[in-house]
Symmetry: C2
Subunit: 399 residues, 2 copies
DNA sequence: CGTCTATGTCCAACTAGTGAACTCTAAGCT
DNA sequence: AGCTTAGAGTTCACTAGTTGGACATAGACG
C-alpha cells in the first residue's frame, strides 16, 4: 500500500497530474490532457479509462464540432467536500464537489452562549439538511473543512481560549465533528480559512503570496506563502492584531499596550461611538452609517483604516506579499477604509515593498470562511484521496 | 532529452533523491540510503554504481566497525562551489565541494570607494588565488553564490541603491562576475545569505523556520520559511529595519520616522557615544568596550537590544519562527544584547508565539555570509546540474 | 572455529510508459 | 455524393526501470 520511494508512485503521480489538469481546466479532451501534462496519448488513454472505471471521471461522448473528441471532466459525485464555519454569530455550511463547484450553501444564526455540544449538534443537522437537499451520496464525502473563530493548535487539534465562544476552550472540534459525521475533519482558524477562500474563489485568484486581514471582534491575518497557508512552526503566525503600534497606547486584552487591535477591532472601536450613537451599535451598523454619510462613523472608520495600514506596512516590510485582502464586516466600507489603509501603507512601508502591492476588499464577504473551509478540505484531500478511493473502488475485491 | 511527463523521469527523480540524501548526511552506506530514501536496496545498488561510474560519488571501501559497509559520499571533485561576499569593509571568498566541506576561505579588506569594476577584479583575483591554492579543477565549478550588502532585484539581478557601496547602484553583479568567471552566479543580499549560512552550518541547523537578524550599518533580516529563503514576490521581504516603532521617533534615511533602524543600526547609534567616547568608534569597538565593562556602551547595547526585541516581537506575531539568530557585529555582545532582546520579545509578543522561540547568537560570525553564498550555490545547483553532467560524461559519444 | 547477521549484488518478474501503427469520425473539397 | 484529410483515441509490441528474493560476503559473537 505504501510505495514511498517509487515504481508505481509514478503511476500515482501521473494520475494526480491528470486529475489536476482536468480540475484546473474544468474539462479537457484526452488530447488536450496529453498536451498539458506532457504525457503520451497512450498513457492518457489508459489513465482516463482507469479513472472512468473508478467512476471518478465522466466522459461525455462527443462535444464540440471537432472531429471526434470526448471531453473528460471530473464526475460531479466523484467526491464531495463540506465546509463548516463557526463565526461570531453565524454557523455556515457549504457543500462542494471536486470540480470546485459549490453545490449548496446555507447559514443560520448561532447563539453565542450555546455550548460546544449544542454547536456541533446544530452543525451536524445543517450538514445533513444540505446533504439531503442536494441529494449527494453520503459515502462520497471525502473530507470536511472546519473553521473556528479562535486560536487552534493544529497539531493537537485543541481549541485555545476564545473570547468569542466561551466554554469551547479545550474542545477538539475536529474530533467532535469527525465523530458525528464519520469523515476526516480538518480545522483551522477563521483568518486562515478566509485567506484560503479569497485565494481560491475571491480577490486572491492568481496570486501566490497574500495576506488576508480580518477585522471583526479582533484583528487577525491569514498568510498565504507560495500558494499555501503559512501557520508557522507553532501555528500562531498571522497575529497581526497584536503588533505594537504605540507602546503607551490603550491596554489590550493580550496584556500589552497599543496593539493594533486596540485601534481597529470592534470591541475597542465601538465604545468610541456609544455615547453619540447608542450602545447597541455593531461594526456592520457603523459601516452602514458611514456609507450613508455619518461623519462620526466615517471618521472612526478612516482612523481604523490608518491604523490597519500601519500594521499592514510592517507586514509588507517583513513579508512583501503581492496582495492584501481585507475581510470581515469592515471590508463592506470599501474605499472609506481602503483609502486610509493604502495611504498609511504608502507612508510607512518602504517603497520597494509597497510598490507592487494591491490592497483589495474581499470578494466573498462573510462567505470567505466557509468557502475557505471547502478549499481546505479539497487541499487536504490533496487529489490523492480521490485516487486512493479510485484504486480501492476499481480493484475487484480479492480474498 | 526531455521527458517532461514521465517514464525515465522516475529514474532521474530517484537519482536526485539519492544525491540529496547523501549531500544532506555527508556520507551514508547503501543500506542507509535505502532506508532514508525509501528505495529498495537493489535500486540503490544500481544508482550508486551509475553515480560511481560517472565519477560523481566516492565509495570508501569500508568504514566503521560494522559488518561490511561501504560508505558513499559525494566525490570531492564531483563539483565545486564558490561563495563570494562583498561586505561593508571586506571581500570574502570561500571554496567548497558538494560534500558541504569548506576547502578554503580567505578575506581581504575592501576599499569602500572602490568602483564596481575594481571590486569584481579583486574578487576574480581572490577566487583564482584560492582555486590555485586548493588545486581544484576549474571545470568542476558548478556555481557561484554572491552576496552584496544592499537591495537586489532577484529577477533582473540589478543592485538597488546602497549607501554602503556607492557607485555600485544599477550594476548587475551576477552578470559581471559570471562573465569573468564563466560560471552561473546566483546573487542575494547579505541578510538572506547570512540566514542561509546559519541555517546550514551554524545556529540554525535542524530548524525549518528561522529569522536571521543582521545588525550592522543598517538592520535587515533574512527569513527562512520551510527550509528555504523567502524573498517575497517583490524580493524585498525581511526589511525589519524599517518597521515603525515610534511614529514620532527620529527621521530615518528611508524617509519615515522611528524605524527600528533609527534605534539599532550603527549609523544612528554610534553618534550617541561620540561625545563621550570619541568619533572614530565602530560597532565592534562599542561591543568590545561593553564587554570590558564600559557602562555607557553597555547601556547603549541594552537599549539597542530592547528595540530589536520589539521588532522581533512583531515579526514573531506575524511569522512565528522557531528560531531567531542574531548576526552582524552586534552578535559578539552575547548576552549583553540577547538578554534585552529576549526580555523585549517576552513582553511584546503574544505568549503562544514567543513560547517556543529561541533567540541565539550566530555561530559563524562574519563568515555567515560567505558560507551562505556557498550554500546558495549548492542549493541553486539543485542536484540536477550534477546529474546532467553525469549523464553527459557517462554516455559514450555517439556519432 | 562455526554460526549469525547485516550488507551489497544478481536475476527473474513485473509495472508502467512510449512510439508506431491503426481505426474512427466529421469536416472540407471536388 | 464521394473522396480526402486530419485530428482523436486505441492497441500492441517494446523498453526502461523498480522490486522481491536468492546469493555471496565478511565482521561479530559465542
Amino acid at each position: 500500500m505504501e510505495t514511498p520511494g517509487s515504481q508505481s508512485s509514478l503511476h500515482r503521480a501521473n494520475l494526480e497530474r491528470v486529475v489536476r489538469a482536468v480540475r484546473l481546466a474544468g474539462s479537457l479532451t484526452q488530447a488536450e490532457i496529453a498536451r498539458t501534462t506532457g504525457l503520451s496519448a497512450a498513457t492518457v488513454s489508459n489513465i482516463v479509462r482507469e479513472l472512468k472505471d473508478g467512476g471518478k471521471v465522466e466522459v461525455t461522448p462527443t462535444s464540440a464540432g471537432g472531429r471526434r473528441a470526448r471531453s473528460v471532466s471530473l464526475s460531479g459525485d466523484a467526491g464531495i467536500v463540506i465546509g463548516v464555519d463557526f463565526g461570531h454569530t453565524h454557523l455556515r455550511v457549504a457543500i462542494g464537489n471536486l470540480a470546485h463547484q459549490v453545490l449548496a450553501e446555507e447559514s443560520e444564526p448561532l447563539d453565542v452562549d450555546a455550548s460546544a455540544a449544542q454547536g456541533f449538534d446544530r452543525a451536524e443537522q445543517l450538514v445533513s439538511r444540505l446533504i439531503a437537499a442536494t441529494g449527494v451520496d453520503r459515502t462520497k464525502i471525502t473530507g470536511v473543512g472546519l473553521g473556528v473563530p479562535g486560536p487552534i493548535d493544529v497539531e493537537s487539534g485543541t481549541l485555545g481560549s476564545t473570547a468569542i465562544l466561551p466554554g469551547w476552550t479545550g474542545t477538539k472540534p475536529a474530533e467532535e465533528l469527525g465523530g458525528r459525521l464519520g469523515v476526516p475533519v480538518h480545522v483551522d482558524n477563521d483568518a486562515n480559512l478566509g485567506a484560503l477562500g479569497e485565494l481560491v474563489w475571491g480577490s486572491g485568484r492568481g496570486v501566490r503570496d497574500l495576506a488576508y486581514i480580518k477585522v471583526a471582534s479582533g484583528v487577525g491575518a491569514g498568510l498565504v506563502i507560495n500558494g499555501k497557508i503559512y501557520r508557522g512552526p507553532g501555528g500562531t503566525a498571522g497575529e497581526i492584531g497584536h503588533i505594537t503600534l504605540d507602546e503607551s497606547g490603550p491596554v489590550c486584552r493580550c496584556g500589552n499596550r497599543g496593539c493594533l487591535e486596540t485601534f481597529a477591532a470592534a470591541r475597542y472601536v465601538l465604545p468610541l461611538l456609544q455615547s453619540s450613537h447608542g450602545t447597541d451599535l455593531t461594526m456592520e451598523g457603523v459601516v452602514r452609517l458611514a456609507r450613508d454619510g455619518d461623519p462620526g462613523c466615517r471618521r472612526v472608520i478612516a482612523d481604523v483604516g490608518r491604523h490597519i495600514g500601519s500594521g499592514v506596512a510592517n507586514l509588507c516590510n517583513l513579508l512583501n506579499p503581492s496582495r492584501v485582502v481585507l475581510g470581515g464586516d469592515l471590508a463592506e466600507a470599501g474605499e472609506l477604509v481602503l483609502g486610509p489603509i493604502r495611504e498609511s501603507v504608502g507612508r510607512y512601508a518602504i517603497p520597494s515593498a509597497a510598490r507592487q502591492l494591491s490592497v483589495l476588499p474581499g470578494a466573498l464577504g462573510g462567505r470567505a470562511e466557509v468557502l475557505g473551509a471547502l478549499a481546505l478540505a479539497l487541499s487536504e484531500m490533496g487529489d490523492s484521496t480521490l485516487l486512493d478511493g479510485s484504486l480501492a473502488a476499481a480493484t475487484p475485491a480479492f480474498t
